[in-house]
């Protein structure tokens, strides 16, 4: 390891903690563009965290994962989503299912839960890895919470991408894990397909809104 243990831990924790913080920021955004900007920040912090892991673990292939996080999720996807919102004239306000206050409280509960779940069972692993894992699980759970508490299709995709950021954080924190690059590529393909699908299927044309709630009404005729 090229760097002292103490510093390696501290920087990794600051970056992982930073991601958790941005996850909370994502939860209370009320405007669509603010959600996208916060997500871009989320991806940039992830890229920094991965770069740090690549440096500490002396694992050059992780730089590819970091580059994907920065270029694809930090820049390309937010720009594409921005264009979708403008082109398809989607509501610029985020519609929530549950109030912001209770969502934040729920988020705090989820962070406590993931710490309580992960720390005891990983007692035998290295301290660095287990705390990183607890933070990563918190990011994953907060992303899921965002997917549940937002009605809008775009914010659900953003929620899913923040879940994925948490998983990449966990995977890069697991020292020497193979296929991290392949997995991040596979995830990026998944997301690209979905964003492409929004354009392609022009959900706006048919539903007058990207509000997933609209989709639900069509089932009345089916069942």
């Amino acid at each position: 390891m090229p760097v002292m243990h103490g510093l390696a831990y501290d920087v990794a924790h600051v970056l992982a903690g930073g991601m958790l913080l941005v996850s909370f920021v994502l939860l209370y955004q009320r405007r669509m563009f603010a959600v996208m900007n916060s997500f871009a920040l989320h991806a940039i912090v992830l890229a920094l965290a991965v770069v740090w892991q690549a440096y500490v673990q002396a694992a050059p292939h992780l730089y590819i994962t970091a580059a994907i996080a920065l270029l694809f999720k930090g820049i390309a996807i937010p720009v594409a989503l921005h264009r979708i919102v403008v082109r398809l004239e989607i509501h610029r306000e985020v519609e929530t299912v549950i109030g912001v206050g209770s969502t934040m409280l729920g988020g705090i509960g989820l962070v406590a839960l993931s710490i309580l779940v992960v720390l005891p069972v990983t007692a035998s692993s290295a301290a660095f890895a287990r705390e990183d894992l607890a933070l990563a699980l918190s990011v994953v759970l907060l992303g899921l919470l965002m997917m549940i508490t937002r009605r809008n299709a775009i914010t659900q995709v953003v929620g899913f991408m923040s879940v994925e950021n948490g998983l990449i954080l966990a995977a890069t924190g697991a020292k020497g894990m193979p296929f991290v690059v392949e997995i991040s590529v596979a995830f990026s393909i998944l997301i690209a397909f979905v964003v492409f699908g929004m354009f392609f299927f022009r959900i706006r044309e048919r539903f007058d809104s990207l509000d997933v709630h609209y989709l639900g009404t069509f089932r009345g005729g089916q069942e």
């Binding site: 890895a129 997917m147 899913f160 995977a171 193979p178 392949e182 998944l190 979905v194 048919r206 005729g221």
Partner: protein
């Protein structure tokens, strides 16, 4: 010969992959539909050759007793579905539901999906397997939404959201397994290879394995369609093209289950880890009972059989949850028989829905008068899926029930109740569709009956006589599963 055998697993992946790339650029859907059959046949041939010369496990791919039969099943149903698909899409083009441009996309995605499913089955690596399941999910999401009706888009969106949450959770479980393995085996590829994981699982940290399994059960359980994680499944089956419904039910659900069973083998090898049985029994039974009751009020014929798939996945998960040589044997047999029967049912349902121009059960009637051959196929299929003798599903359900009676008699009560409730529902619907007053279109069917009756014949034979080597083979795998 041995060198050639080493390349077979790669061939099973590369043939569909090449097919997908060629179909993506090839104009002319008639040629592509035929080529689709040809490519699927080539893949099946490559998979069949594994029976004679089985290559040694490599660092990325492996063929062992467990996955070889699923690979064969996968490529076989992939091949028969491609035949059905060719006659199905002809009709879709005529009525203008699909355009030639969409068909190009459809065929490319079909082969891409076969590639992804074969990758998940063949991989010797928990990460690679996950990539396979994830890729198969994307391609099926796109295929489900291909009609672009509001209902189809809703189904695709729901499937995408629930499916991605599922695979995200499975990914976290996979990372946890790597954590557990890394401290014992060391960093790198070996700590993710099935061949090493199973041998060393006894030394893994048990609490970490337990936590990982919970994530994997919820994650891959979503892909299997276990209640209460099943919400995507009926919509995805009902709104997509019928060949895709056949592949979803017959193959993709099995792949989720295969992934879960592989991880169950790790827990079984570790004496300190929690027993996964009770969790799987609970989820299996609740899926069975829930789906059996839901069968009664269905109005859409494809949705009806989608719920039946949830029911059968419940039975299979229950059987593997019971564990032991007999129940595992029954589970493996049921996986095979369900896959063959359900895809056969969807083949006939696809043609029925095309002729009657509706999927609504109350607008379909008197099939035995208007289309006797299709009615015969559908009736045999439904009788088989409901667990009537002499078909294969009767055999496997009989084994599950009798082993449950022997070991946990009180669990057999809800199990048998679920089976009977489902039987009643299917019989009611069958009566309406096949024997009532003729309703709906009476145009002659331009169907290809070959895949339908080939599957039904196999299911009938499987119920009466299982060849000795196959039985020995299932018994061996059942022992591996613990």
């Amino acid at each position: 010969m041995n060198r050639l055998a080493g390349d077979v697993p790669a061939a099973i992946l590369l043939i569909p992959l090449a097919g997908a790339l060629i179909f993506a650029v090839l104009p002319g859907y008639r040629l592509t539909a035929r080529l689709n059959i040809f490519v699927s046949l080539l893949t099946l041939a490559a998979a069949t050759s594994l029976l004679w010369a089985r290559p040694k496990a490599g660092p990325y791919l492996q063929v062992d007793d467990f996955n070889i039969y699923l690979i064969l099943l996968n490529t076989f149903v992939g091949f028969t579905t491609s035949i059905f698909s060719a006659s199905y899409i002809d009709h879709e083009l005529e009525i203008g539901r699909l355009t030639p441009a969409y068909l190009r996309f459809y065929h490319a995605m079909y082969q891409w999906m076969m590639f992804a499913m074969n990758l998940a089955l063949l991989s010797n690596n928990i990460g690679l397997m996950w990539v396979g399941v994830e890729t198969a999910t994307i391609s099926t999401v796109l295929l489900v939404g291909i009609y672009r009706t509001p209902a189809a888009l809703e189904a695709a969106w729901k499937y995408f959201i629930l499916g991605s949450v599922g695979i995200a959770l499975a990914m976290f479980g996979t990372i946890l397994i790597y954590f557990a393995a890394q401290s014992v085996i060391g960093e790198g590829l070996q700590a993710m290879a099935w061949t090493t994981l199973v041998g060393r699982a006894a030394e893994f940290d048990a609490p970490l394995l337990n936590l990982a399994f919970v994530f994997l059960l919820v994650g891959y359980g979503t892909k299997i369609g276990l209640a209460p994680l099943h919400a995507w499944l009926p919509d995805a089956h009902a709104e997509g093209p019928t060949p895709i419904s056949a592949v979803l039910s017959g193959l993709l659900l099995n792949i989720g289950l295969y992934a879960l069973l592989r991880f169950k083998m790790l827990l079984a090898a570790n004496p300190a880890a929690l027993a996964p049985g009770p969790l799987m029994i609970t989820m299996g039974l609740s899926s069975l009972l829930f789906a059996a009751i839901m069968l009664y009020r269905r109005r859409d014929i494809k949705r009806l059989f989608a719920y039946s798939s949830i029911e059968h996945m419940g039975i299979i998960t229950f059987a593997f949850g019971m564990g032991g040589p007999l129940a595992n044997f029954a589970g493996l047999l049921h996986m095979t028989m369900h896959s063959l029967t359900k895809s056969a049912i969807f083949y006939s349902v696809g043609h029925v829905a095309q002729i009657k121009e509706t999927q609504r059960i109350d607008q379909i009637g008197g099939l035995s008068v208007t289309h006797p051959v299709l009615a015969l196929g559908l009736t045999i299929g439904v009788l088989a899926i409901a667990g009537m003798p002499p078909f294969g599903i009767f055999m496997s359900e009989f084994l599950v029930v009798s082993s449950t009676f022997y070991r946990q008699p009180w669990l057999a009560v809800p199990l048998v109740a679920g089976l009977l409730i489902a039987l009643g529902a299917l019989a009611l619907h069958l009566q309406g569709i096949v024997f009532s007053e003729p309703k709906g279109g009476i145009a002659p069917a331009k169907a290809s009956y070959l895949p339908l009756f080939a599957h039904l014949a196999l299911v009938a034979v499987g119920g009466i006589y299982l060849p000795g080597p196959l039985v020995a083979w299932f018994q061996h795998v059942a022992k591996l599963l613990g």
